[in-house]
Amino acid sequence: MIEGLNPGLILILGALLVPFTSGFIRNIYVLALPIIGLYYTWSLGLGSFGHVEILGHTLILTKIDALARVFGTIFHIAAFAGLLYGLHVKDPQQHVATLIYAGAAIAAVFSGDLVSLFSYWELTAISSAFLIFASRNERAFNAGMRYLIIQVTSGVLLLAGIALYVAQSGNMDVAPMELGSAASWLFLIAFGIKTAFPLLHNWVQDAYPQATVSGTVILSAFTTKLAVYALARFFAGEDILLWIGAIMVIFPVFHATLENDLRRTVAYSMNSQQGFMVIGVGIGTELALNGVAAHATVSILYTCLLFMATGAVLYRAGTAKITDLGAVYKSMPLTAMFAVIGSLVIMAFPLTAAFASKSLILSAALDGKMVILWLAMLFGAVAVIDNVGLKIPLFGFFKPGEDMGLQEAPKHMLLAMGVLSVLAIGIGIFPSAFFQILPYPIEYHVYTASHVVTQLQLIIFAALVFVCCVKFNMYPKPQDTLTLDFDWFYRKPLKKFAINLGLLINAGYLGFLRMSQAVIGWFITKARETHGGQGLLSRTAASGVAVSIVMLLFGVTLLLVY
């Protein structure tokens, strides 16, 4: 293949052909693209390819190192599973958006220079918005617009940061930076928006549940993990991330507990899991970065799996609200089983993938004697057991009651969930094989007695709390209400302010437009008079006139030259 072609481009360019396929061919085609991309990524090996000189700056189109390759690999797998899950969709727009979105995320991970990184960063924002719009209802449209505004804001901040950074350092390579200059803060905020830092996080819970059934699965895999990758790439070992991460772990827990909508619950808990990775980046040791890469991979697996299972319920039952659901497990046993597997993984149950990946980050925190962080993560781990690990299966799938008379999920959905489950459990059983592809070589034993016992204690204790709470009616009953979050501030007062500001700007703009129109109109009239048809500057002057001009200007020149 072409030397230096960014692997992400296989998906991006491949997407353009999707509208020209149909039926069976399209299914084969969209599933083949991520496989080809993954094969190509690994066949390239490590290194940087495709150096292009443009106007004095070097662009590195493809740069693959071990950290990037972990993310690139899981992105390909997520794209494959997500596309498999969404095969029932007959709307080519969603396939195209999915492929471009996944391709852009992969390409961003493999970008060797800031300009490429920015381009793909923006492309992920724009293409993913179409997955939300694809629901084709007003709520989704509004949520999509809010999502787009926030994502593009992140892009604009990144662009500003890049411009400042390049102006200061004259360097366009993707390389770690020190937090301190204005440019680096812009980078951090841009990444922070996409990582869903506390108070910058609302777009996740706002937009993800509004997307289509398969759209949510796709959305959950890429944007936030791409941002984690960017953080790890630029800000590894930055102390401020420790505290941001700790707040991130704890903060969304309460919302997840209160939430009624299954998919929003998963979205909140995903936010909390992001916190683990941010802490890992903040610690910045080799062990921690390995943990970040591992946990990002695993987190994609179980988040996708949970969104798939809840999505399948939504697809069959038409709702994903706990209050509306009955004994789903009776009619959708396989889906319920996958939901349980997903929940076990998110609990970090021994023999599942998260057990391996989470313990890496926890060990890294202990190695660094960061006890408070360790406690925060412990709290997060307990909370996630309660509000997702137990809540989703028990409240969503295994509620007592009548059979709801639903159909089992379609085969391709089950297959997609199966693929992810096999991977999630496979990594849990053979962690050392998985550790081979991590960025740094490690010697780490997951299944020591103390690890297993600690984790089991944790789970049993959490289960006890959960059972007690439910038993004594202490657990907040899921109610069909909207949970208020920080986003109220930007959805109500900020919106009003923005609208008024917009009206003001609009009025000013209209005035400016009219004035400019008048000025330009005057210019055009004048230009036509002097430059058009037989105008002064356009008509063919007589030779005599031409010679006179020569004489005149020659005189002027002589005067100037003297």
Binding site: H531, T540, L553, F554, T557, L560
Partner: protein, 499 residues
């Protein structure tokens, strides 16, 4: 260095010069053309040889008749002159490849021998101006070029009688320009007693303050400005380009004014020296003012034209404004921009005029109103025009962008308000270019063709050269090592080697 190559400087000039009378002896539609094409290609080959040699080994000085300079005439091949020679002979060869069928429609067959003789003379003259290191020799070659080009332009009279008037006006203006240059050279000779450019340059500083030298500078600059069609001396150009035969327009658009740009750079940097030109006399403000007016005002005029050839001619005057500004910026970056734009604009404009020639061949008119629906009738040619138009506007990946980028950098390098103003003016002028190109494209593609118009492309012998130019436009827009590389070499040679 083999024996043939050691004579390359003179061969590049003498081959077309001696070919002219031979071509005049032949009759028929093919032979004169074939001779001209082969000789031009030979000249092109020697030019490339020289360019590569100069850039690897160093400048060549060739003594004519074995007379040592400064007494004898010297040919000097340095990075700048070799680059311009390569452009001239290359454009000429490309145009000639295209010429065979095109010219049959516009010039009667029995005159073709004479026609190609004049063509070869014009080529020899331009090559001579570029290579010679002797100031009087410049005038001689200038006259050879001018006289033959008056003839060539007037050949358009079979299509439109106004070609005669256009040629006459060019004659009046061109003669004044040449005379001015001659007076300037004469005054310098009177003061220095030498005609060799390097010799004059070495003595220039000592006499720079004297009245005759100041007058000589004025004469030379105005004289070259007339030949360069610098605004407001451009009056001869639009008519000349409009009514000349298609291939002549294409040939001159890529070469004639470019040679004058070369002369301007040569006089200002080599002969007068940078310190004198931009320090002692206010050349920067003078040239820059005229250049800016040229690219703004002439672009607007181009917008209002109803004849496509005329539109492109005015656009040429505007583009020459860019080159003038590049010279006036008096910096290495500005010179690079100017020199590379000589190359870039030459291939873009010649390519455009060739496609216009193909359209004229089929439609018989270059009035924009007659081009309605040509996009459907001649899709391949029209698309070539669109791509060329992109190059003219300066869209990224075309050479027009490359030279504008360098010019903008040179302007910003100044770091003052003038620099920012220049940048804005260039942006506005590029917008004007979008408008005048779009006007044509809109008529070509979005107006219905008149009833009964047939769908037929121009002959392959014309299409292929057109597309060679179009592909070259994109090649040199992306792989810039030829145009930028040699222009950088030339500019650093001038800045470092200027005295």
């Amino acid at each position: 260095m083999n024996a043939l190559f050691s004579q390359a400087p003179i061969l590049a000039i003498v081959i077309p010069l001696m070919g002219a009378p031979i071509s005049a002896l032949f009759r028929g539609a093919v032979l004169p053309w074939a001779i001209a094409t082969m000789l031009s290609a030979a000249s092109f080959w020697f030019s490339i040889d020289l360019l590569v040699h100069v850039n690897t080994v160093g400048p060549i000085s060739y003594e004519l008749g074995g007379w040592e300079p400064p007494w004898g005439i010297e040919y000097v091949v340095d990075p700048l002159s070799a680059f311009v020679m390569m452009v001239i002979s290359g454009i000429s060869t490309g145009v000639l490849l295209y010429a065979r069928e095109s010219i049959l429609k516009e010039v009667s067959t029995d005159r073709l021998g004479m026609f190609f003789a004049a063509y070869l003379l014009a080529l020899a003259g331009m090559m001579g101006i570029t290579i010679t290191g002797d100031a009087f020799n410049i005038f001689v070659f200038l006259e050879i070029t001018s006289l033959s080009s008056y003839v060539l332009i007037s050949m358009g009279e079979r299509t439109d009688r106004r070609a005669l008037f256009a040629a006459f006006q060019y004659l009046v203006m061109g003669t004044i320009g040449a005379t001015f240059i001659l007076i300037g050279v004469g005054l310098l000779y009177a003061m220095t007693g030498t005609l060799n450019i390097a010799d004059i340059a070495s003595k220039f500083d000592a006499i720079a303050h004297t009245t005759p030298v100041r007058a000589a500078v004025g004469f030379l600059i105005v004289g070259v400005a007339i030949k360069l069609a610098m605004f407001p001396f451009h009056i001869w150009l639009p008519n000349g380009y409009t009514y000349a035969p298609s291939i002549i327009t294409a040939f001159f658009a890529g070469t004639a004014t470019k040679v004058s740009v070369y002369l301007m750079i040569r006089f200002i940097y080599t002969m007068f020296g940078e310190d004198f030109s931009f320090g002692e006399i206010p050349l920067t403000s003078m040239l820059m003012t005229l250049g800016v007016i040229a690219f703004l005002s002439m672009s607007v005029v181009a917008i209002f034209q109803d004849n496509l050839k005329r539109l492109l001619a005015y656009s040429s005057v505007a583009q020459l404004g860019y080159m003038t500004v590049g010279i006036a910026l008096a910096s290495e970056m500005g010179l690079i921009a100017s020199i590379t734009h000589v190359f870039n604009h030459a291939i873009v404009k010649t390519g455009l005029f060739l496609t216009v020639g193909a359209i004229f061949y089929m439609v018989g008119s270059t009035y924009i109103k007659d081009l309605a629906g040509i996009g459907q009738r001649m899709p391949i040619t029209s698309f070539a025009f669109v791509l060329g138009g992109l190059g003219l506007i300066g869209v990224p990946l075309t050479p027009g962008f490359v030279s504008k980028w360098y010019l903008v950098q040179a302007a910003l390098e100044r770091g003052d308000m003038v620099g920012y103003g220049l940048t804005i003016a260039m942006l506005i002028s590029s917008l004007f270019a979008v408008i005048y190109v779009w006007r044509v494209v809109e008529v070509m593609y979005f107006r219905p063709a008149p009833e009964g118009a047939e769908c037929k492309e121009a002959p392959l012998s014309m299409m292929i050269p057109c597309w060679i130019f179009v592909i070259a436009i994109f090649y040199f827009g992306i792989e810039t090592s030829v145009n930028i590389g040699f222009a950088e070499a030339a500019a650093s040679f001038l800045m470092g080697g200027a005295k």
